[in-house]
């Protein structure tokens, strides 16, 4: 019989190798899925993972997209990972992302058509605050009444989506938009446009903030006592309390950071790639970022790589949809599989397989 046996220590080797195995398994099973859909599996995998960067025909358009898509994913996932390390499961980053976008955009639109240089920084602050405030709802409910942050934060996503639908056809609707839902387009308003910083790279302010967040998170978690306390809370809550960590503070801090970063991502998205507040400007980054956080082993550098990989599957997926006619849902399935295989192979970090005779127990 095969048994799982707990390792005395988590295996360093498996910690590093499981994401690679998960990617490989996803490719194999995904290929089978595409074959079943009638597409050539090898070609499908190549279209998703290779063509967006190296195919001369598409690369000029798709390569910058890599950073455009990876930026918000990384920014949100970094925030989530800090909470996840503490055992605080913010599943509602999508909602904080939407609320950040709405608050940031709203703060800017209030000053339309000013061209002041202060507007964009103001919008950034408002975006971060919007996401932060939305995350404070599950934080306060959890610390005051002991509610489950998973459920509350997740439910608040749907509230945020309804607020988004309401403001894009109401409060923030473009008065010159001939009645169509959606706000003014920030791309046509220089003071607020989150434009590409270096042409042809896809680099915008959101990507810059994502890189800063990666470095800051690394320093926080590896070197700072606060990061140590966050990790301690996740590893052993009783030991954390013994060390003098205030659990309420950690909940507020972690949800606050992840909410603020998600809000920032929303603001940069809506003023840049999306261009305006509309009913469906959000591309589900808040949810995909959960996969990114885990795929990156909740480690800042890992998240950087995982964000790029996940961005690749987005772009490659669209390409495969276009070129091979595979359905869009199969790309989401593909991303879901990645998380599934990661969690499955993750077992080997803490356990090893034993092939042993059955034993009465």
């Amino acid at each position: 019989m095969i048994r799982l046996e707990k390792r005395p220590e988590p295996s360093r080797f498996w910690t590093a190798v499981t994401p690679l195995i998960a990617v490989a398994l996803t490719m194999v099973v995904g290929g089978m899925l595409f074959a079943w859909q009638g597409a050539d599996p090898v070609e499908a995998i190549r279209t998703i993972f290779w063509d967006p960067i190296f195919n001369p025909q598409f690369a000029a358009f798709t390569r910058p997209q890599l950073l455009v898509k990876a930026g918000p994913l990384i920014l949100i996932a970094i925030g989530l990972s800090i909470g996840f390390r503490a055992g605080i499961w913010n599943i509602g980053a999508e909602g904080q992302y939407i609320m950040g976008a709405i608050c940031g955009a709203g703060a800017g639109l209030a000053f339309y058509p000013s061209e002041s240089v202060l507007i964009f920084p103001l919008m950034i602050v408002a975006g971060a605050l919007g996401g932060w405030a939305w995350a404070m709802i599950p934080a306060v409910l959890k610390t005051r009444f002991g509610t489950n942050e998973i459920l509350v934060s997740l439910m608040l996503v749907y509230v945020a989506e309804n607020i988004l639908a309401s403001v894009s056809s109401g409060l923030l609707r473009n008065p010159e938009g001939m009645g169509f839902p959606g706000s003014r387009n920030f791309k046509q308003w220089d003071a607020t446009h989150n434009a590409e910083l270096i042409s042809g790279t896809g680099m915008h302010w959101g990507v810059v903030f994502a890189f800063i967040a990666v470095i800051a998170a690394y320093v926080l978690m590896a070197r700072h006592i606060q990061g140590f306390h966050i990790r301690l809370t996740g590893e052993a809550p009783r030991a954390a309390r013994f060390a003098g960590v205030n659990p309420t503070r950690i909940v507020i801090l972690c949800l606050g950071i992840s909410g603020a970063l998600a809000g920032l991502a929303g603001l940069f998205e809506v003023t840049g790639p999306a261009g305006q507040i509309s009913i469906d400007f959000n591309s589900g980054y808040g949810f995909t970022a959960i996969i990114v956080a885990f795929l990156g082993r909740l480690h800042p550098v890992g998240i950087l790589l995982a964000g790029l990989l996940m961005a690749l599957t987005y772009i490659g997926g669209e390409l495969a949809q276009l070129m091979l006619g595979v359905p869009g849902a199969s790309i989401q399935l593909f991303q879901g599989m990645l998380l599934f295989f990661l969690l499955a192979t993750d077992v080997f970090t803490n356990y090893r397989l034993r092939f042993a005779a059955r034993e009465v127990s």
Binding site: E9, G244, V360
Partner: protein, 507 residues
């Protein structure tokens, strides 16, 4: 020999990476109390699990009355007359005694008949127990009686008892011993697992000593000294803790009428607890598990804030301060649970050093951890307390219980506390490590620290404390000098007979 009941020959059982039992052979005779003695991890539990049919041996054989005995399950073992009382009870709180007993029987009689039989057995063996009481309302000693009666109802020929006295007061221990002696005269063999040497010397006819899976010796414990037994168990001689002469200084820690409600349904409230410890003094706090030990430690460590004015350190009220501020003020503590409370299992020893020593050892400057300093601190603890580990980068959970305990106690002692509070400092720790920890406690007291040791090991408390107090349902008895106590008085204190002090002090 004609009266050999169970004969064990060459039993071997290997688990990945460790041989739990290596070629163990010994005999148990009818009507004897046979001790199985060994440190934690010596292979005692694996051995009895094989006898009770929970684990199949890799090699070797067992015979009962000369017939081959290879139980594939506990029920097969029970049919051959083997019964076992586990250290951790498997009882349902919401059911009454009779219902619990019937759940553990292979072929329970009708409820009415069962209740009558429970009464008969409990009277016959001096184990008073009402079959209709809810188990949730029973004390630990009474719960153990339920388990024992469940076994006795099946007329066992061999009764295995795994560390039965760890949850009992001295009085309850006496009752248990009477029962066991009675069973013995009726011809029941008892395999008695323990590491309490004095108990074994008074109770057991023979003792088989295991060390690292191997049988070291079978001896007659009454003819050996406790020290000799301990050395056979550990395999080498070790220094008995020696107390240096200490001078009693000023009172450093004073608790005044501390009451705290129970934080949840499974905890004990603290009721009007008062005591004082002076520099150079060790106060031992005894009591049966679950009488408020954890709660008292939490109130002293600062994990739970106490009402103002109830906790004073060097004359200053610290009751409203949290763990960090109390450490800064010089009050350090070590909780009972090593993994998950005193240390984070998956974190390295370096990180576990930072856990409590961050500020006192200046491991943090402007919020940033100096990992070099943290590593050096962990290495100092490892060196000073002889912690066996490949290095300070190893995860805490990879260490054996004794080594991790040396690390967590050493971590506090090296921070030169003014007051140190420890809960169960040597629980589950091998004899040599326990002796080292006790010595360190005594040395710290000699340097002028005030120390509170909460423990369920009375021998330990008698060995190292100057004064003794007992916790009972969250109440603390008045502390009395150890020199004027004996086991009977201690038992009364643990049982909550506080008026004894009044009678005693009046004359």
């Amino acid at each position: 020999m004609a009266d050999t009941l169970l004969s064990i020959t060459g039993l071997t059982k290997a688990y990945p990476g460790v041989v739990a039992n290596d070629d163990v052979s010994f005999d148990i005779r009818t009507g004897e109390i046979h001790a199985l003695l060994g440190e934690n991890g010596a292979g005692k539990s694996t051995l009895v699990k094989m006898i009770y049919g929970l684990v199949a041996p890799d090699r070797g054989s067992m015979r009962i009355d000369g017939a081959a005995f290879a139980p594939g399950s506990p029920s097969e073992a029970r049919q051959s007359g083997v019964a076992m009382v586990f250290q951790h009870f498997s009882l349902f709180d919401a059911l009454d005694v009779a219902e619990n007993v019937s759940l553990g029987m292979d072929d329970p009689p009708k409820p009415g008949a069962l209740a009558a039989r429970i009464r008969d057995v409990s009277e016959a063996y001096g184990l008073p127990l009402d079959p209709h009481r809810l188990v949730g309302t029973l004390s630990a000693g009474e719960r153990q009686r339920v388990e024992i009666i469940r076994c006795l109802l099946q007329d066992p020929r061999l009764l295995i008892m795994d560390e039965p006295t760890s949850v009992l007061t001295p009085q309850e221990v006496e009752i248990l011993f009477e029962t066991l002696r009675k069973l013995k005269t009726e011809g029941t063999a008892i395999l008695y697992i323990s590491h309490k040497l004095e108990e074994i010397r008074t109770l057991c006819d023979h003792a088989t000593i295991l060390r690292r899976g191997k049988k070291v010796a079978t001896c007659t414990p009454a003819e050996e000294t406790a020290r000799k037994l301990a050395e056979m168990m550990v395999g080498s001689s070790f220094a008995t803790p020696v107390a240096q002469s200490r001078t009693r200084g000023d009172v450093l820690l004073e608790i005044r009428s501390l009451s705290l409600p129970a934080p949840d349904a499974f905890s004990t409230p603290l009721r009007d607890v008062s005591f004082a410890v002076a520099a150079g003094e060790v106060l031992g706090i005894g009591g049966v598990a679950g009488n408020g030990q954890d709660e008292l430690l939490a109130a002293l460590s600062g994990e739970r804030i106490a009402p103002a004015g109830t906790v004073a350190l060097k004359g200053k009220d610290i009751a409203r301060l949290g763990p960090v501020a109390r450490r800064d003020a010089g009050l350090l503590s070590g909780p009972e649970e090593r993994l998950g409370h005193a240390a984070a299992p998956n974190m390295s020893l370096i990180e576990n050093g930072v856990l409590t020593a961050a500020r006192r050892e200046n491991l943090v400057s402007r919020g940033f951890i100096g990992w070099g300093d943290a590593r050096r601190f962990a290495e100092r603890v490892i060196d000073a307390f002889d912690v066996r580990t490949p290095g300070p980068g190893v995860a805490a959970r990879a260490l054996s219980g004794g080594n991790l305990q040396k690390f967590v106690v050493g971590r506090e002692i090296l921070q030169r506390p003014d007051v140190l509070v420890l809960n169960q400092p040597t629980w589950g720790v091998d004899a040599a490590a326990a002796a080292a920890i006790r010595q360190a406690i005594l040395d710290l007291a000699a340097k002028g620290a005030a120390i509170v040791v909460i423990s369920q090991d009375l021998d330990e408390l008698m060995e190292i404390s100057d004064r003794f107090a007992a916790l009972n349902e969250g109440r603390l008895s008045a502390a009395r000098p150890v020199a004027e106590l004996d086991m009977e008085k201690i038992g009364l204190m643990m049982g909550g007979a506080h008026d004894m002090e009044v009678a005693h002090d009046v004359h």
